[in-house]
Symmetry: C2
Subunit: 456 residues, 2 copies
Amino acid sequence: MYAKSATGALRSARRFSTISASSGLKINSERLWNTLHQTCEYGAAHRYGESPTETGMARLTLNDEDARVRRWFAKEVEKLGCSLSIDQMGNMFAKQSGRLGSPAPMIAMGSHLDTQPRGGRYDGILGVMAALEVLRTMKENNFQTNYDVGVVNWTNEEGARFPKSMCSSGVWAGAIPIQKAWDLRDIHDSSVTLRSELERHGYLGEIACSSDAATGYSLGAHFELHIEQGPILPENNRSIGVVRGAQGYRWLTMTVHGKDAHTGTTPFSARQDPLLASSRMIAASHDIAKKHDALASTGIIKVPSNASTNTVSSQVTFTLDIRHPQDHVVHAVQDECLKAFETIASQDGKGVSFDWTLDTDSPAVKFDDDCVASIQAAADQLVGREQSMLMTSGAGHDTVYTSQHCPSAMIFVPCRDGVSHHPTEYCSPQDCALGTQALLEAVVHYDQSRANKENK
Amino acid sequence: MYAKSATGALRSARRFSTISASSGLKINSERLWNTLHQTCEYGAAHRYGESPTETGMARLTLNDEDARVRRWFAKEVEKLGCSLSIDQMGNMFAKQSGRLGSPAPMIAMGSHLDTQPRGGRYDGILGVMAALEVLRTMKENNFQTNYDVGVVNWTNEEGARFPKSMCSSGVWAGAIPIQKAWDLRDIHDSSVTLRSELERHGYLGEIACSSDAATGYSLGAHFELHIEQGPILPENNRSIGVVRGAQGYRWLTMTVHGKDAHTGTTPFSARQDPLLASSRMIAASHDIAKKHDALASTGIIKVPSNASTNTVSSQVTFTLDIRHPQDHVVHAVQDECLKAFETIASQDGKGVSFDWTLDTDSPAVKFDDDCVASIQAAADQLVGREQSMLMTSGAGHDTVYTSQHCPSAMIFVPCRDGVSHHPTEYCSPQDCALGTQALLEAVVHYDQSRANKENK
């Protein structure tokens, strides 16, 4: 049984050393752990404990630290004999040749090296470091896959510095126009664009950012190991999540219009109070989502900069993030919220008005059955069916975009208390290693299945 | 009957020209109107219409425009033969000698010339311009009061640039230490203090800012004409508010602590969502206040600067402004809110915690009976009892502080739709004139009563 106690860790270690991996390979968990934390020196921030690794990260897309880890990554994959390609969004594709010499696009293991401004050491980073460890393990064992395999470092997954998440896998997938992505401005310095930073660091590659084999970089499959970023695995005592899709979500920005008025002199009956209305709306959206077993969350609320304690605000904006594995539920929650908001808008005083914009519409995604089967096979073999679980990803990931153009799926490992996007985000050495071994086994399984299929 | 229609305005004008004022004096309403709007050229901002006067104001305390209007004001009162004193907070006291040559402190008409950043042309400004018009009317009619009379321009009433409202009347009253007031920093430029701006403009006077006659500037009485800043006068079709006190209020800042978490991956049951809790608290405070016929308002709500659409916030702060004419009701609402907040804090997910600070505690104030009687006499004579009403001020005013050290009361006139602290704030020429005439009559009445009393 998966447990995070010291005894549990010991059990994990014991269990780990006795797995019978179908690949015959065994990743080096110490090397993985050390490499991950060494590279976290590029961008370490927000210390929260005394151990050297007890810091978070602030490695924002294409800042100097991100450029450093990219140069380090390039050197490491070149040491392994990989060919490295960089596209016009700075996505880095490292390829190790397969033994068949097939021209088929590589089986990729991808994730991202950028972090949130107050992020942790595992979100994205683990996925790239695990992929590197898989290549290293194969290399030192003279193990060659049938087809080309490789690693992708996707640029600006977080969208924290340049506000568009899963940005460059989105461009690669044709979902985001490259000009729009290039023009994204640093949220703190509008004179800096994503493109100007690509140029500054020498990461504006020449090949198109596209899944089109003729002009861009096409992929044969995409596997991503990621921390769960939620409490479901630990709460269910599972150690591997076999991720078969991603829930749909819609992001709305609500703007509630009222009228500024003096809080001391304006009776409730004469008010148009957008903050009171927004408060009722936020509470209502929660209750509606709960009823549908969906999620509705408000992360940002803003009053005008001249707001004061004794003035009813003239306007309030807030975000609404609605999620559910089924698109029709997402839509039902949205519809019900908007209906409730109309009632609320007329409820107090002289009433308020509101309008809204749809900022993101990300329909639910179903990952590739073969990729999911390869991951399930790896999980079965490593921890057994009762220690893994089929899951739907709550968050967006680069794999959501890759899945539009190549067979894709994801592996989740538990992170402590489900915490991510926070300096204290933590994934144990055992879980990092287990996830990495699962990634290796899934890729080898998929490579073998693909060879078997094509040789039929 | 007071009405704001065109016919109503005509009726007001007719009524106004036929008042039999006990002073025998009649203010010049055109001069008042023109002077007020001429001086609003210092700091005019936020145009909302085509007429020259259809702008708001941005004359923040001790900015260059405020310094200009102060210099203009000094010149005007000197032209009238007033002696001008400036204290260490830049409060300006202009005194016209009474005919008795009494050493008793002057009967003051005071208000403020500073505005909100998006303020209007009447809040405070009308009170000072009306006082000036009263002095001008007396001067041109060779009318002398028994005792000294004069005008006060109180510094930083709004507390918008240097965040402490009724700041310098508060220092004068001994309620705010002068060092604390001097050290207030410009909310946009922390290198600038209130004291450094007093020095820059030459308004750091030499006399103490105090009601103590020996070192400061004591006052014999304080009358303030002000726009109501609320809808009660217009909704009751009254033209003069006889203000006998100010409601009590307490300003709290609530800080709700949760835990940041990914909105896509964290089930409601695992969340500690401070924005959801704050929303429920704001709604609850409104409902509790309503039940008590009190006011509870939230003007400011803040999430951390790194808030994002897909992250449950770690912390939320919001303000709570509770008001009622009776202190025990203010306290009851506060107690009930805090109790409700505790229930709310444990309501959703894993619960949140909160703490709070009391930022301002302004007990209810009862103005001086004699001053109120003088204003009521003026109102009776100008518009009759059925057109005036006894009121409690909803907002804080400099008079709240002066009332601690000298007999004080206020006159309210209606402003359009009760709107203030907004560019479109408006008080009609008729209402400005009526209020000014009432101010003159109240001062003359008070001066006469004082003479009668002292000669008994």
